[in-house]
């Protein structure tokens, strides 16, 4: 274990990520209940910090309260990282999180000010996903596992697992943007359906690569299985949410089932995106490609903790011979 691991900081980062997930739930509830304009002023609600929490005001003001809490948590995290974190790139990521949460607040104001213009609403929803992924990444980077010596595996296949994982992150993010655009009436459903097919294909390819190339790498296998489960559930949720939405079209009051299905589908999308980010980070941390090793002289040297220069730079190392796709420890 590396001395840089700070349990309190890690717990704080994990708590921030969980609070951010709850913020996503609160935001999705605002959209599904069409409560985004239940409070016409900003940042106060009806000129007060505590307006009557009835109907749509409960969702909109509740969202603002949770957002304020997460904003304060993020300030605390960024400051804590500045003071106690030795890795410069992690400190910088903390500042990026802080910038993102400030930008998110400004976008929230613009949605109220300009009466939910689709471009701003979609930007607000998309930045929320990015911010959530940053908090998840910070929770991982401050964790014991990331800063410990971990077994390495060698990737001899093509495309690289890292490439597949990054493609899955990008495709899932775009899929969430298209979902937000559909939800905020900027686009129709077609781009979202195409996006679902692309994400599914990439997840299948990544899962297949992990199963064939790294049969003994338990962590990778688990990450792949988790991602498959998330995507499969998300597809079912998407179909259910769509059916429910079509069935309730024209109704004066949106049924609770439609509201909750769309909320769960939205936040599950965030979990899928976070899952792809986790996979990309795990792949980055434990998988080495044959080409990299040749460039480095044919020996593995990636078993230590990344300190000081960047997520790919490792302070300590153990020289291991090249393997043939099996886990090495």
């Amino acid at each position: 274990m590396n001395a840089a691991y700070k349990p309190a900081l890690h717990l704080y980062a994990v708590f921030t990520a969980i609070a951010t997930f709850l913020l996503l739930v609160a935001g999705a509830l605002v959209t599904s209940n069409e409560a985004g304009l239940a409070v016409p002023d900003w940042p106060l609600s009806y000129g007060s910090l505590f307006p009557p929490m009835v109907g749509g005001i409960f969702y909109e003001h509740g969202h603002r309260l949770v957002a304020t809490f997460v904003g304060l948590l993020t300030v605390g995290l960024a400051v804590a990282l500045l003071f106690v974190e030795p890795r410069r790139w992690v400190r910088r990521l903390g500042l990026v999180a802080l910038a993102a949460v400030v930008a998110q607040g400004i976008l929230g104001y613009l949605t109220v000010k300009f009466l939910l213009p689709p471009a701003v609403s979609v930007a607000h929803a998309s930045l929320a996903q990015i911010f959530f992924c940053i908090t998840v990444a910070l929770a991982i980077f401050t964790g014991r596992w990331w800063q410990s010596e971990v077994p390495q595996v060698q990737d001899t296949g093509s495309p690289r697992l890292q490439t597949l994982a990054l493609a899955a992150v990008a495709a899932t993010f775009l899929q969430l943007v298209s979902g937000a655009a559909f939800r905020h009436n900027a686009f129709g459903i077609v781009p979202h359906l195409i996006g679902a097919a692309v994400v599914l294909l990439l997840i299948i390819l990544a899962g297949r690569a992990m199963r064939i190339r790294f049969p003994d790498a338990r962590l990778l296998r688990r990450s792949g299985a988790m991602l498959h489960a998330l995507v499969g559930t998300q597809l079912l949720l998407g179909a259910a949410a769509w059916y429910s939405r079509v069935a309730s079209r024209g109704m004066q009051q949106t049924p609770d089932s439609t509201i909750w299905l769309t909320v769960i589908h939205t936040v599950f999308g965030a979990l899928v995106l976070a899952g792809t980010v986790v996979l990309a980070l795990v792949a980055h941390r434990v998988v080495r490609h044959e080409r990299d090793e040749k460039e480095r002289g044919g020996e593995l040297e990636f078993v230590g903790a990344p300190i000081g220069k960047g997520p790919g730079h490792l302070a300590s190392s153990a020289r291991l011979p090249l393997g043939s796709g099996k886990a090495q420890s």
Partner: protein, 260 residues
């Protein structure tokens, strides 16, 4: 270099977002009432005709859904004895369909009409809009009343007119608004009470009616000519019929809607 690229991306994103907002502002400016509206074309009442009729629903009348008002204790209390029900399809005796806007769709293009100065009221009472559907002329005042002891917000979501969103406290002062462009029909909602929905149809001319529970309509003082009559319902969509009205002629036209 990387910093410059990031900065350029952020600037581009800001420009896109603010550009979108700016467009909305311009639309708002464009919706102002015309300063020099052309003089109204006179209608000779002595030779004018009329069109009347009934709008009916064919098939089994849909059962109104119970609306859940528990999100606001005040609203729930208002409906403890008689629960609030949806008005998306109100079918009366003999299949008469209420809340249908019947209007002249074509045939009046060469005429202009004076805007009525009589305000049409839209009341928020018992946590529902009364009436559920109203129709007005362009720039005709719409007076919004809150008779409830709870706050409402009035948020029309038009396609051709500017958006606005105003809150109105318990029994607060009336709000008067108007719409500068023709639009059939503008959805109006209360974002605090998600079940509260209403529609405002806006016409350039005065030949329109909203059917009541008896499903009838009556368009009086219509100049002789060939017309297309339109009928709009929030759930069952649109229907239209051709009609020729002679001088002093009283035509009968009926519309029938079916569940889609």
């Amino acid at each position: 270099m990387r910093f410059r690229l990031s900065f350029a991306c952020m600037a581009l994103a800001c420009a896109v977002v603010l550009g979108g907002c700016g467009k909305k502002e311009k639309e708002d400016e464009g919706a102002a009432a015309p300063a020099n509206a052309p003089a109204a074309t006179p209608v000779d009442s002595a030779s004018a005709g009329s069109v009347s009729g009934t709008v009916k629903f064919e098939g089994a009348a849909p059962k109104p859904a119970r609306l859940k008002t528990e999100a606001d204790p005040y609203c729930a209390k208002m409906h403890t004895s008689a629960p609030l029900t949806s008005e998306e399809a109100v079918v009366g005796a003999g299949g008469a369909l209420a809340n249908v806007v019947v209007y002249v769709k074509t045939g009046l293009e060469n005429r202009t009409f004076e805007t009525s100065k009589n305000a049409v009221e839209l009341n928020q009472e018992g946590c529902e809009y009364k009436p559920h559907v109203i129709a007005v002329q362009t720039n005709q005042p719409v007076t919004i009343i809150n008779s409830d002891d709870t706050t409402h917000n009035i948020h029309p979501t038009p396609a051709n007119n500017p958006d606005w969103n105003k809150s109105q406290g318990p029994k607060a002062e009336k709000i008067t608004q108007s719409f500068a462009r023709e639009e059939i029909a503008i959805p109006v909602k209360c974002n605090i009470h998600g079940w509260m929905k209403s529609y405002i149809a806006v016409f350039k001319h005065p030949y329109f009616k909203v059917t009541g529970k008896d499903g009838t309509f009556d368009l009086q003082n219509l100049p002789a000519g060939d017309y297309t009559l339109g009928a709009w319902h929030e759930k069952y969509g649109k229907s239209e019929q051709k009609v020729t009205v002679g001088a002093k002629e009283a035509k009968k036209v009926d519309f029938v809607f079916k569940a889609s």
